[in-house]
Amino acid sequence: MPPRPALAPTLPALLASLALAACATPVYRPPGGSAGTPVPAPEGSGVPTPVPSTPLPEPAPVPAPVPAPKSYRLGAATSALVSQAQGASARGDYETAAATLERALRIEPDNPLVWIEMGRARLAGGDPVQAENMGRRALALAAGAPREQASARQLIADAQSAR
């Protein structure tokens, strides 16, 4: 039910990527579909990824596609809730911060940025164990998104040093 405002790869996009090897978000495709896994390109470049011009020796295993650098942002609703939570956190009201972030989580449960915010609020509230676990959850959700992975790793490191 909650839409994913940040990342919504469409079939045309996937098809376009087939043809152009242009930028798209790699996602798991429903089994039995006809579109291929897109070949990723740097986010926002809009420039087709250069295709290697020399064939690899056969029958070498097909090289794995380069992970697509994708990135996440928060939807308007989630973003408002996150700032509200940050305000509560700044006042030292970590309970309210956590409750408000859970509202954001229900709207965008798969967005690693929400999990990173939740982890940050937990860390500020003195719960480094949960902060680290939430960092790990964010890291898993951020597969293919280097910027978010870096933030998740930073959260994990901060949480570990706070223990």
Partner: protein, 762 residues
Amino acid sequence: MKARTRKWLRGLAVGVGALAALAALAFAIAFFYYDREVAQQFEGRRWTVPAKVYAAPIELYVGLPFTIDDFLAELERLKYRAATELDRPGSYRRRRGRFEIAVRAARFADELRPAQIIAVTIEGNAISGLRAADGADIPVFRLDPLLIGSIFPIHGEDRIVLTPDDVPPLLPAAIKAVEDRKFDTHHGIDLEAIARALWVNLRAGKVEQGGSTLTQQLVKSYFLDGRRTLGRKLEEAMMALALEARYDKRDLMTAYINEIYLGQQGDRAIHGFGLASRFWFAKPLDELDLAETALLVAIVRGPPYYDPRRHPQRAQQRRDLVLRILARQGIVPAAQAEAAAARPLGIATRPSGGYYPAYLDFVRRTLRRDYKEEDLTEAGLSIFTSFDPRAQLAAEQALEGELTRLDRTRKPPGGQAGLEGAVVVTLPQSGEVIAMVGGRNVSFDGLNRALASPRAIGSLVKPFVYLAAVESGRWNATSVLDDTPIEVPLSRNNVWRPQNFSRDAHGPVSMVRALSESLNLATVHLGLDVGVPQVAQLLARFGLGKAPPPLPSLLLGALDLPPIDVAQLYNGLANGGFQVPLRAVRAVVNEHGERIGAYPVRIEPVAPPDAVYEVDRMMTYVIERGTGRAAAARLPRGLVVAGKTGSSSDLRDGWFAGFSGSHLAVVWIGYDDNRPTGVTGSSGSLIVWQKVMSALGTSSWQPPMPETLEDLAIDYSSGLRVTTGCSQDEVIVAVPRGTAPPFLAGCAPPSGIADWLRGIIR
């Protein structure tokens, strides 16, 4: 003579006076004693306002899918009324897809939201605008939380407590007419009524009539046990007098309406007219007609004796008597009473919704687990839950519809109870339970099968066997398993010979096929190779708490769990290998608006995310082409879901557990007495599951693939690698990078850049 008489009379007067004074003194002392007693207890009871339990509020924001009809239904549910002028909170007006709503003030766990006017625009089945009265955009806005029940968290009683304004005037009038005609004028006891009752009872030679006032009945229900001795009667009378002296009639009538015993459901007593109305008629008190109100008043005299479900004739006779009394006393016109007497009892065979005992049961359980008892004794608590009335309705209807259909096709032999079932629905990422059905007659029999009926989980255990294998690094979806007969020595004279459901053995099969088609032999071979203790440990990590005994039969699900525990296990699969304790309570707030004992979401990694992803991907093929394929065609087009069927031996239990990107649902169907059902997990439970999922408006399972994995096209049966279009039987699995198996004969790519490219793209 005259003087002696006068003297004697004077003596008598003095004596009587002294006696009277003594009696008055005794009475005063007794009265004083009972007054204190009554005041303490009555205040305690009267002010024990139960905690109010709220459903999850709907969060509105631009982009949220919502049709105009659904939005109207939501406003209706929250009792907003259409109006031309937004005169007071609780009203709205609409022009096509644009709603202006005078929202009521509402208390949430994290804020007190004042009443205000908002404008909501719906276009193309989604919210396209959300604005304040001054035209400013509102990023996110919560509708009022729906009240779903009242509970006393500690003693577990639920009650719908009414204020005098909630009570339709007919009810107190009818109670007085039937139970205590002089209620408005007496002082707690009605001597005339007692004398009349005594006379009637003496003549009949048994107790036919009680002379108790409403006040005495209230005292009896509040303070006294059921013994009928003279001492008790005197005590009761004193307390009644004391109550009357202290409280006005209105307070006492309200207390009576909220307190009196009106029915029994298992070990749960139904107290108060508010709850009784739900219990007997499945609707709120203010919607009852004359005949229904009369029946409730009739039941007061003896709920077990006049139980309208068990003894409909008795109940009807007494209801009609009540109607005649009402007519005779001029409370209702005789014609109306006659018309009402011609009506059937109108007892609900099925609740119409609005009452959710299974979920409230789970709320109490989570409260006991997560909160301190002393925090919950406070009066006036508000409990905010994750309950979703729409999901609940979908689950109730799906289960009831399918069970009715199955009962028709396999009529249980004479007199035996029909099939039963249970459903649990969660939001996997937060572990919130949003719906729970504990049986088909949602309100009536008191057994919450979702929590309290452990049943054999059968093949539901298999994803954990496969996960243990994948986690070990020695297996992946392309691995070839051995689906051949096996003998497992259990003890010296005892050999276990498991069989496939079809009784066939398939020889070498790919792991993805073995899981999709739920092959027992392949699973036992695999599980013994991986190690039963490893599987048991994995189950413990995913939420069982304690590892089940590592017996080989565990590999085929010889493990009894209630649906809620299955939901806990599968929630970890749906949540990428992170365990979240399932819960119902988001927050508890006291009457000053302060949160007590906050328990925010807690997560714990319990398995490597990539191993879980690999198994989840295999589980999508259960639906796509395995034992769950009956559901594939009926699910919304393009929706990707993963799940697993489960059937215990002799088909005593039929399970389906599965998830999408945003919901997890577990369905169990079976008989309460554990006799075989003839229904597999892939018929009954799967159909219920598919209907629930379809009604939820859920999103596809499509988490980002871990970077350590790659997509691989393989031949479904052999697990060998293929190029596109080469095998009729191609599936795409996720495997660790660099572990691709060899190509299927004739399916290797020819050399050349075009094919190399295609290889990449596949």
